[in-house]
């Protein structure tokens, strides 16, 4: 019942919106004069035409009335004081924008409810259909539906998607396949453009009276617009089919990098169309401009990325605005590149890629989550809006349908793509270790979808130089529809039919990580032995340069020295702890640990067990000292909240507890059975706790109110080690009898039962602690988040797009 109501909701909203949308143009500078329908002169209180229910009704401030009165010029007859008034024009633009975005979001929601349809049809198709319907509705009402303005598209709708893609780009696969991707992007796009342009010119010459006047340059321009594979469409479709990572990165990387080629070709042919003659100089300049555009874009992006990384080094006191820096710097990179007609997309990607490792090492966990969520949200909404507007613009735009032109465009597009992929793959396979099979080639060719970028680029053409613009638009829209609908819908069954390798859903384990790093070192060594300056050699050199110079500048504090493996391990641990909590809680131990507890792993030789008790006594004193100092800290810590500090997350305490428990258990069991010699008193913080300590999260653990007479030491997350080791030192004498600590004991909470009466009780709390030993100092220092890790897990979106 609820499902049916939900299903009806989007359509109900459509009906509601129908009357609202007439006559709007999504321009930021829309003047009021052009829309007389909505103007409400203040003097006509009754004249409200077709007022929709959703119109805001506001009470106007008094001064506005006076203003209007005086603007009128002549004295009005006195009427009653208006208790309620309507002034829609005041909020029209933000209101309409919000309505469109709301429509987009409701559509997305609706598709998930109608899951049967969305399994067959990719979301992008459905959205275009919705756009068509909305456009049709608007036209039916008699108003002019809005068209997707190129400015809005390029400045507001496209950047979030690209930033999202660039920031979470799986860097390892990208760089491994960079050569292939570049060849597809550059050579492939060039081939497509010229092949298509040339053939279309031939068609135009043959094609009859309507087409004869279209020159070679115009055709080449048309070819260059339509030949570029579109990242938005590729993302939308490929995300749903879960294809293996290699193919995904190939097609997606190609769609991102061909922007440079498209920009150059577009501007080139646009300029050339004005010239009477094209000389060699012009062509050489055009060739040069390609390098300038692409490398310049990357350069701009790198600069902004480095600045952003450097800025994030100092944000430890204002955690709240950290995400903003990431967004703003990236957006500025995009805009700056656009100023100089450089490739904005490449700038955006370069800045995202460059800033990510350093920023992630500097920012807090919450900021990291914020960035992730915001990027996913914006890109999702953008994508939805783009597709809806494609549909609307189809209805709204002026079309000029010419059968020959459109059909031949479609045909040659497909042929060009297939030929291009085949030839290039044959060439590339000579240099690749992992060859591309025919199946792969088919998917790459089939995945060359065109999308909104082509549409917007065509829309930018002006009429005077290109009076066949409408025909171009029609042809482009047809190709877009064909690729998105036909290819988008059929690619999923084809993938299943051809049994293409799907994405592996396995999580990356710590073993894999260790082995991969080991392999990297090994291969670098072997390359050194061979004297061959290969892939690994340069990678190693880059890493060392990074570690030695760059990281020191851009990463705050001690994090700059933390190696990747440690960071990865911490991240994994925290993930497991979070899973533990979410799977329902305290006291439950995940099956992996219980099935094989560490007591099963025995060393080959058993060291002396006597040494254990002797050593632990030493550590006990240290532990006690640390504990004392931390108790003091607990009392002193205030719980405060203001805009500049983040409120403690109620779950974070639980996480900390769980994490510590797990670590403690692992540690305890291992220690018992293997009789390790040292109690790890200076264990590295788990990330959550260290993050908790970084200034902005004032956490305070309230001690249990109704404890027994035992001095209960609850944990200040700032220094978790002490209670942990404390427990261990207590458990060791117990456990030496051969029993591991039972899980029930842990459930009492981290309670310390001191062995001697002189151990810190509640009275000792207020006495200032003795000088901290260096090890405890080290413990208490801020060791923060897991460092950069370009993981496949990050490559796949946290909230899967399109789902």
């Amino acid at each position: 019942m609820g499902a049916a109501a939900l299903r009806a909701l989007p359509w109900a909203l459509l009906l509601l919106l129908g009357p609202l949308l007439p006559g709007q143009r999504l321009q930021a500078d829309a003047t009021r004069v052009s829309e007389p329908t909505w103007e409400q002169p203040w003097g006509e209180p009754g004249g409200i035409t077709a007022a929709p229910l959703a119109t805001a009704q506001e009470v106007h401030p008094l001064n506005k009335q006076h203003h209007n009165h005086s603007a009128e010029g002549h004295p009005k007859p006195r009427k009653a004081f208006p208790v309620l008034g309507i002034d829609y024009s005041h909020v029209r633009i933000p209101f309409e924008i919000s309505l469109w975005i709301l429509l987009a979001c409701l559509m997305k929601m609706g598709f998930h409810v109608m899951s049967s349809v969305s399994k067959v049809v990719p979301e992008s198709c459905l959205l275009i259909v919705v756009g068509l319907l909305v456009g049709g509705l608007i036209k039916a009402v008699g108003e002019k539906p809005p068209i997707l303005k190129s400015d809005i598209f390029f400045l507001f709708l496209l950047p979030p998607i690209i930033l999202d893609a660039g920031y979470f780009l799986p860097l390892r696969q990208f760089t491994e396949n960079l050569g292939t991707i570049l060849i597809f992007a550059v050579v492939g796009t060039l081939w497509n453009a010229f092949f298509l342009g040339g053939l279309m010119y031939a068609v135009c010459q043959i094609g009859g009276s309507g087409l004869n006047h279209i020159g070679l340059l115009a055709n080449l321009l048309f070819g260059s617009i339509i030949s570029a594979v579109d990242p938005v469409a590729v993302l939308a479709v490929f995300e749903e089919i879960h294809i293996n990572e290699l193919l995904h990165i190939l097609v997606f990387g190609e769609s991102l990098l061909n922007d440079a080629v498209t920009v150059v070709l577009y501007h080139l042919f646009e300029e050339f169309a004005n010239f009477e003659q094209v000389t060699i100089i012009d062509m050489v300049l055009g060739f040069l401009s390609f390098f300038v555009v692409s490398l310049g874009g990357v350069f701009v992006g790198v600069i902004y990325g480095l600045i952003a990384a450097f800025t994030s080094r100092f944000t430890s006191n204002i955690r709240v605005i950290e995400p903003l820096f990431v967004f703003l710097y990236s957006y500025m990179a995009y805009l700056s590149a656009e100023i100089f007609h450089l490739s904005g997309i490449m700038a955006l990607i370069a800045s995202g890629v460059v800033m990510r490792p350093y920023v992630e090492a500097n920012i807090s966990h919450k900021s990291h989550t914020t960035i992730k969520y915001f990027l996913k949200m914006w890109s999702s909404v953008s994508e939805t809006l783009i597709f809806i507007f494609l549909g609307v613009s189809t209805v709204a735009g002026q079309h000029y349908w010419n059968w020959t032109f459109v059909i031949s465009t479609l045909l040659f597009c497909l042929i060009a793509r297939v030929l291009g992929v085949l030839v290039l793959t044959w060439f590339i396979n000579k240099f690749r270790i992992v060859k591309l099979t025919p199946k792969d080639q088919f998917i790459i060719a089939y995945g060359g979808l065109r999308g909104a970028i082509a549409f917007s680029l065509c829309y930018l053409l002006d009429y005077e130089h290109f009076n066949m613009r409408d025909m171009f638009l029609t042809a482009i829209i047809t190709v877009i529809f064909f690729t998105v609908f036909v290819q988008g819908m059929t690619i999923r069954p084809l993938v299943d039919l051809l049994a293409v390798k799907k994405k592996q859903e396995t999580k990356r384990s710590i073993n894999e990580e260790i082995h991969t790093q080991f392999l990297d070192h090994l291969l670098t060594g072997i390359e050194d032995i061979c004297g061959h300056y290969g892939h690994h050699h340069w990678k190693d050199k880059l890493n060392r340069f990074n570690k030695k110079y760059v990281k020191k500048c851009l990463i705050a504090g001690e994090r700059s020295k933390e190696p990747q493996l440690i960071a990865f391990y911490h991240k994994m641990e925290m993930k497991q702890a979070i899973e533990l909590v979410e799977s329902g809680g305290l006291g439950k131990i995940p099956s992996t640990i219980s099935a094989v507890s560490i007591q099963n792993i025995s060393p080959k030789t058993l060291p002396d067990s006597n040494a254990l008790s002797a050593l632990s006594k030493d550590k006990e004193d240290e532990i006690r000292k640390i504990l004392r100092s931390n108790l003091q800290k607990t009392r002193q810590r205030l719980r405060s909240y203001n805009r500049h500090t983040l409120v403690a997350d109620p779950y974070e305490d639980v996480w900390n507890q769980m994490l510590m428990k797990r670590q403690k258990m692992q540690q305890a069991e291992l220690q018992l059975q293997n009789a390790y010699l040292t109690v790890p008193a200076n264990r590295i913080d788990s990330p959550t706790m260290s993050r908790a300590r970084i200034g902005s999260d004032p956490l305070a653990y309230e001690p249990k109110p109704d404890s027994e007479n035992l001095p209960i030491i609850t944990i200040d997350p700032a220094s978790p080690q002490s209670p942990e080791s404390m427990d261990l030192s207590n458990e060791v004498p117990k456990g030496c009898g051969g029993l591991p600590p039972s899980p029930e004991e842990d459930e009492e909470g981290l309670v310390m039962r001191p062995k001697e009466p002189s151990s810190p009780g509640t009275d000792d709390v207020f006495t200032p602690g003795t000088s901290d030993s260096p090890s405890s100092q080290r413990m208490l220092r801020c060791l923060s988040d897991p460092g950069p890790r370009q993981e496949p897990e990050e490559g796949e979106p946290f909230i899967p797009k399109g789902q």
């Binding site: 690994h536 440690i566 692992q666």
Partner: protein, 198 residues
């Protein structure tokens, strides 16, 4: 480096055995004569791997005193890239060979099992370039890794059985997700850029 007649018969035999072309063998031979210093932190391990009798297919344990060029080539053949025309069986054995090489690098005491201690040693060496590291974190990582491997491979056994270490079969299991045959290779395509050290 032109005609095939000038290739001595030993070279040809070598080429057949290890799968390298004669050009590649010549290059490697030149290089073998001027072995440079390896600046890697796990260099001792890598150098050991060259002398490891198991990798040389001579004996199940021990280190060779010295190796000649043939042995050198045998070791290098583990890093061959795969070829397109290999069938499933050869691919599988190829993969196993590479993994066996890796396994021998981890297993320093020739018993065929990677124990916790050996794993720790590997980690120590991996991280040895980093002076700021805490010992305990390495230990924690090694233990975590062992736990993972153990839980993956010992799902059926009860808690009273002792897990000695990672055997080769378990090792294979861990590596199942990673395509070693594509990763573990060194390109021998163009060797003109070989560094000469004097």
């Amino acid at each position: 480096m032109g005609s095939a007649q000038s290739v001595p018969p030993e070279m040809r035999a070598l080429a057949e055995r290890t799968g390298f072309t004669s050009e590649q063998i010549e290059q490697l031979h030149r290089r073998f004569k001027q072995l440079s210093h390896n600046r890697k932190t796990i260099r001792a391990r890598i150098v050991h791997a060259f002398f490891d009798k198991r990798n040389l297919r001579k004996a199940p344990a021990g280190l060779a005193e010295e190796i000649n060029f043939e042995d050198f080539l045998t070791i290098m053949s583990y890093f061959r890239p795969i070829e397109m025309d290999m069938d499933e069986e050869r691919l599988e054995s190829f993969r196993k060979e590479k993994l066996k090489f890796l396994f021998h690098m981890y297993d320093a005491d020739y018993d065929g099992i990677i124990t916790l201690q050996e794993y720790k040693n590997v980690l120590d060496e991996l991280m040895s370039g980093n002076p700021h590291l805490e010992k305990e974190s390495l230990r924690a990582i090694a233990e975590g890794a062992m736990l993972e491997a153990a839980s993956a491979c010992m799902a059926r056994t009860g808690p009273d059985e002792v897990y000695e270490g990672i055997t080769f079969e378990d090792f294979l299991k861990v590596w199942k997700g990673i395509d070693i045959e594509t990763k573990m290779h060194v390109r021998f395509l163009t060797m003109e850029a070989i560094a000469h050290c004097y």
